[in-house]
Structure formats: structure tokens, C-alpha cells
């Protein structure tokens, strides 16, 4: 479970940023996330939707303990992200569009590394690695250096890295960006499988198609603020525009 309460994250503006057109005069900071509250429950997929620069990545980095909130509170799997950051990281799997892989290691070495960092016992690590490699079709290139793999293969290794310690909570930050259709589909299947396994899943995207295929709960964020936070079904019922894209644009423009 992820619970976000009155979350705000402020960043100090640099001189160059202050000169930008839409920065308020004399402002020395900007709220990338402003007073945001939502919760993600186990066995459900929570989609965080928003245009570029809306604050999606910042929100996910706060959940993943990479950033500290300026105010508010986040709890992940029952642990506070500030006071119990280490515990949070043990229960979380984080996947981004950038694969975050070490090019000079092989997939086997990469997964072993992250498994050991998560304190997995060798026997369990071997079993889990074997299962994931079979499931994702990594076995055939498990001994090849990651730098020599295609982007689809790399993404599979990223998924394995995210899942190796069987985390309760999964955070996906635009996981399909830049991927081909087949690989993107396999990511979405994985996300569905995580839901089926009772995990808490939050993923950010700006692709409406993914939202419609995956979401149980939906939040729209724009300029750091939540414009919508309810179930996906409720969103569809309340739609005034003809399509999801149009409805999203309408809500953003009205804000």
C-alpha cells in the first residue's frame, strides 16, 4: 500500500529558471508537487497521468525515497519514506523508461548484484533468477554483456532487476517510453500480472492507451497539483469529452 498525505516538494529556482516566462516574479522556488494526497491499494493499478513537467516523476521519486518531501508524508508498505527509508527500499521495485543497467555486466551479474543488495539468500536468489529468466526469455542472452543487447532485451533485464526481490510495491515511471510495440505490450502484461499477484502498483504515463488498458485508479497531475483522483470507472462516467485524450486535455485546460 502507498499512502501519500499532503505531499509538497519545493525546488529552489536557479537564476536561469527565474528568468523563464512563466516563473512568478520574485519567486525563488517552485512547487514541483503541491499538497498532493492519494493512496494506492494492493491488487490495484494506480495510474498517474499528466503532461510533461507536471510532477509525475518527482512524485514517484518521492515515493521511492530518492527525494525527501518538503512537507507532507508518504508511507510505503507501512514504512515512512523519510524515517524508514531503508525499509521502504527493501519493499519497492522501481522501473523507469531509462533502463538503468550496467553495460559492462551480463544480465546474470546484474540480477545477482541487485539480489545480493536486497539481502537475498543465494539459493532463493538462484531460484527466483531462474524463474524470471524463463518467464522473460532472458536465458538465451544471460551471459552476454548488457551493452551488446537490443533495447527490448535490456528492458527485460530491467524488469528482472525490478522484480528479483519480489517487492510488494512496484513503481513504474513511464516504463514503455521509447519501446517497440511488442516490448511495450510485455511490460503491460507484467503490470497486470503484478496486480494479479496482489501487489501495489503505481505507474506514470502520458499515453492514454495504457491508461485505458491498465488502470483501476487514476490521478491527473498538472503543475504539481492533483486535478483528478478517483477510480478509472468514475473518470469514464464523468467524461464530458468524446475521448480519453480530449477529456484529459479539457481537464488540464480548465485548471
Amino acid at each position: 500500500m502507498i499512502v501519500v498525505e499532503n505531499l509538497t516538494k519545493s525546488f529552489r529556482l536557479s537564476k536561469e529558471q527565474k528568468k523563464e516566462k512563466d516563473a512568478p516574479a520574485r519567486a525563488d522556488h517552485v512547487d514541483a508537487v503541491a499538497d498532493v494526497s492519494f493512496s494506492c491499494k494492493p491488487g490495484r493499478i494506480f495510474s498517474l497521468l499528466g503532461p510533461n513537467g507536471a510532477g509525475k516523476t518527482t512524485a514517484l521519486r518521492l515515493i521511492a525515497t530518492m527525494l525527501r518531501p518538503s512537507s507532507g508524508r508518504i508511507s510505503v508498505a507501512g514504512f515512512d519514506t523519510v524515517k524508514e527509508a531503508g525499509q521502504v527500499r527493501r519493499h519497492i521495485g522501481f522501473l523507469t523508461g531509462a533502463t538503468g543497467l550496467y553495460e559492462r555486466l551480463t544480465p546474470t551479474e546484474m540480477i545477482d548484484y541487485y539480489g545480493r543488495l536486497h539481502g537475498m539468500e543465494p539459493a532463493l536468489l538462484e531460484k527466483r533468477k531462474g524463474d524470471l529468466f524463463r518467464l522473460l526469455g532472458i536465458k538465451e542472452f544471460a551471459g552476454r554483456r548488457i551493452g551488446k543487447l537490443s533495447s527490448g532485451m535490456k528492458q527485460k533485464v530491467s524488469i528482472a532487476r525490478t522484480m528479483i526481490h519480489d517487492p510488494q510495491v512496484l513503481v513504474f515511471d513511464e516504463p514503455t517510453v521509447g519501446l517497440d510495440v511488442i516490448t511495450a505490450k510485455s511490460i503491460m502484461q507484467l503490470i497486470r500480472q503484478c496486480r494479479a499477484d496482489g501487489k501495489t502498483v503505481i505507474f506514470s504515463t502520458h499515453i492514454m492507451g495504457e491508461v485505458s488498458l491498465l488502470s483501476d485508479d487514476l490521478a491527473i497531475i498538472h503543475r504539481g497539483r492533483l486535478l483528478y483522483n478517483d477510480t478509472y470507472d468514475a473518470f469514464i462516467r464523468e467524461m464530458k469529452a468524446k475521448s480519453l485524450e480530449d477529456e484529459f486535455i479539457r481537464r488540464v485546460e480548465e485548471a
Binding site: R61, L105, Y114, L117
Partner: protein, 399 residues
């Protein structure tokens, strides 16, 4: 501790697979040392040999014939006497290379000799031709011998012994031991190698392990792992330090091997050096490399953590390369000695201590002071690096 070990081992494995790092750790020290000792010393030696063996084109001008001088010149040196050039053409002939040297005895040379006077004898040559600059000594030798002959004639005429013109003969007696002499010469050169190679060996791993990780997107996934920021920083710091130490040791090994193979350094000189430098001195020298590399690792890693990208890290770190050389160079200046004050200045203290360790004159107290200074600076650097690593504005700069 367990997580730290896991991070260290993985970073070490990753680093050893980076061709650029391996080049700087192993190949570059060899190339630099080989080029310095073999090529440049051989070039210098060949040039000197050419200068010594070259047949010199020499013109001698005098109002009266000087058969004694001409005979001496032709007997003692490999020369070809040129009689075609006139006095008025001397400058031109030397400038355009028709003559290597022109010796112009003054018009009243013989009269001056008879009057027991002194003659100023201009020797024309072109210093910008390096061979001739080296060959000048050959002409001076002949002239000095001729001068001695003339002096002996004067002394014979006056029935005086040769000692008459030499009331004082200077007898320099160097009381420094062979070891101290070697310490002074080798000790000036040694720090160049291991200080510079410590730095270069640590440089690329530091850039790769922080700025490179940010650029490749692996930093985020590492930050989401259970490892704390401190464990991540220390793991990387240890790998960068090890890389610097390994490169410094490799450079010393290459130095020894190139020396052994080199024909420019006689084998008996090399074995003399090795006899004089005790294993205890070598251990002391190598022990200084450890805190020095730790100090460099902390600085380099901090600069790399701050950088947005590999390229930015390189542009910040490359000027540091030259700054590291300055204290090493200062250590070579005469009059700069290792004392309680200079022992406080990092890198300079190592440069000065190296000479004294090889010479066997190092003070244990100063040695302790040097270790303390370097260890404290390395620790402060590591604390600074960790604080930097904890700053969101730094770690996510450019991400």
C-alpha cells in the same frame, strides 16, 4: 559492511572491464615512461654522439700563420679547415651553415703574446643549431690546450714552475653518501611518477562511477536499492583509491623494467641504485601512496558527483591534473626542505619526503605528520563527498 563489500566488488569488476580505465592504469604509464626514458634519452644521447663525432667545418683567421694551433686543432679534433671564407664573411658563413665555427685571432695576437698580454679570441658559432652548441666544447678544449702551451712557454722563459700560476687548487670533497646522492637525484624524479600516476589512475574511474552513472541512468536504480548513500559513496571511493594505487605501483614497476632494458642506464648503475635503496625505504614510499590515492579519490569523486555528465566531469577534473604538478615541481627547487611546515602541505610533503626516504635521512616524526595530514585530508574529502552525494540538487543535477 556486507552491502559495502557487495558494492565494492561490483564496482571493481565493472571498472576492470572499462577499456579506458585499463589503458590509463596499465598502458599509459608504460608509454609515458618508455617515451621519456628510451626515446627521449636515446635522442639526447644520439644528438650528443653526433655532436661529438661530427667533422667540424672550421675557419681560422690570424694575421700571422699559427702552425702550432692548426696542428693542435687537426690532431685533437675531427675538423676540416676552411680557407675560402674571408673575415668579412664570417657571420654570413656561420649563419648559412658553410662554417660550423670561425676562430678569429686578433691582428696583434703575436705581439700581445710577446708582450705577455692577454688576447681575446672570438669564436663564432650558431647556438640555435643544437649540434654546434654541443660541439662548442670541443673547440674550447683545443683553445684551452693551446692557451696552456702558450702559458708554459712564458713560464719556461721566466724559469718559473707551472705551480706559479696556480697558487690555489680547489679540491671539492662531497661527504654525502652514495645513498644520499641517489636520493637527491632519484628522489626529485620519483614523485613525478607516482603522484601523477596516482592521480591519472584514479581520474577515469572517478568520472565513470559518478558522472558516468548519472549519464547512463544507473544512479537512480542504485539509489532505490537498500544500500545507504554512505555505503554507495564509500564503495565507489574504495574502488577509485585502489585504481590510483594500482596505477602508481604499475608505473614504478614499468620504471624499473624500462631502466633494466634501457641501454642508456648502465647495468652497474642500476644495480648500485637497487643495492642502496633498502626494502624498508621502498615500503615507506609505497605506504605514502595509499593516503595520497585516498586524498585524490575523495577530490575526484566529489567533482564527478557534482557533474551532470562525463564530459562536464572531464572538463572540471582535467585542470586539476596540472594543479597536482605544481607542488611536485616546487619540491624540486633547491632550498625547499622537508620540515614541520612543509610536511603540512599535501603532495609537496610527499615530493620532499621521497628524496629523504631514498637518501635514508627521513625523520620519523615528520613521516608521522605527513601520514596524519594525508589521512585527515582524505577523511575530510570523503565526508564532503558523502554530504555532496546526499544533496538532491547535486545528485539529480542534470538527471
Amino acid at each position: 559492511m556486507k552491502l559495502l563489500t557487495i558494492i565494492f566488488r561490483k564496482e571493481l569488476k565493472d571498472m576492470l572491464r572499462d577499456r579506458r580505465t585499463l589503458f590509463f592504469m596499465i598502458i599509459m604509464p608504460f608509454l609515458v615512461i618508455f617515451l621519456i626514458f628510451n626515446l627521449s634519452m636515446r635522442l639526447g644521447r644520439d644528438m650528443e654522439k653526433r655532436a661529438q663525432e661530427k667533422e667540424l667545418q672550421v675557419a681560422v683567421f690570424s694575421a700571422q700563420p699559427l702552425p702550432a694551433f692548426i696542428k693542435l686543432l687537426q690532431t685533437k679534433e675531427k675538423v676540416k679547415i676552411d680557407t675560402r671564407v674571408s673575415r668579412t664573411e664570417i657571420n654570413q658563413a656561420v649563419n648559412d651553415g658553410r662554417l660550423d665555427f670561425a676562430i678569429s685571432f686578433p691582428e696583434n695576437f703575436s705581439e700581445n703574446i710577446d708582450r705577455e698580454g692577454t688576447n681575446e679570441v672570438p669564436v663564432y658559432y650558431k647556438a640555435s643549431t643544437s649540434e654546434n652548441e654541443q660541439a662548442l666544447g670541443r673547440i674550447h678544449k683545443v683553445l684551452e690546450e693551446y692557451g696552456k702551451q702558450l702559458l708554459n712557454l712564458r713560464l719556461e722563459k721566466k724559469n718559473l714552475a707551472a705551480a706559479f700560476v696556480e697558487p690555489l687548487r680547489i679540491d671539492d670533497r662531497d661527504v654525502s653518501s652514495v645513498r644520499e646522492k641517489i636520493g637527491q637525484r632519484l628522489g626529485g624524479m620519483f614523485p613525478y611518477f607516482f603522484v601523477i600516476f596516482c592521480f591519472l589512475g584514479a581520474m577515469y574511474p572517478a568520472i565513470d562511477l559518478a558522472a558516468g552513472e548519472k549519464e547512463r541512468g544507473t544512479m537512480e536504480t542504485l539509489l532505490v536499492s537498500p544500500a545507504t548513500r554512505l555505503q554507495i559513496v564509500v564503495g565507489k571511493f574504495l574502488v577509485v583509491t585502489v585504481s590510483g594505487i594500482f596505477t602508481a605501483l604499475t608505473s614504478v614497476l614499468w620504471l624499473y623494467l624500462v631502466f633494466r632494458q634501457s641501454k642508456t642506464v648502465p647495468a652497474e648503475v642500476l644495480s648500485g641504485i637497487l643495492k642502496v635503496i633498502e626494502w624498508k625505504s621502498l615500503l615507506l614510499l609505497f605506504s605514502m601512496i595509499i593516503p595520497l590515492c585516498a586524498f585524490f579519490a575523495a577530490i575526484l569523486l566529489s567533482a564527478s558527483v557534482f557533474s551532470k555528465s562525463y564530459k562536464e566531469a572531464q572538463s572540471i577534473i582535467t585542470p586539476l591534473n596540472f594543479m597536482v604538478l605544481i607542488p611536485v615541481l616546487i619540491g624540486i627547487f633547491p632550498g625547499i626542505k622537508l620540515n614541520a611546515a612543509t610536511a603540512l602541505i599535501p603532495i609537496l610533503n610527499i615530493s620532499l619526503a621521497t628524496k629523504e626516504i631514498i637518501a635514508g635521512t627521513i625523520s620519523p616524526l615528520l613521516m608521522v605528520e605527513i601520514y596524519l595530514v594525508l589521512v585527515v585530508l582524505a577523511a575530510l574529502g570523503l565526508i564532503f563527498c558523502t554530504r555532496w552525494f546526499n544533496r538532491e540538487a547535486v545528485i539529480f543535477r542534470g538527471v
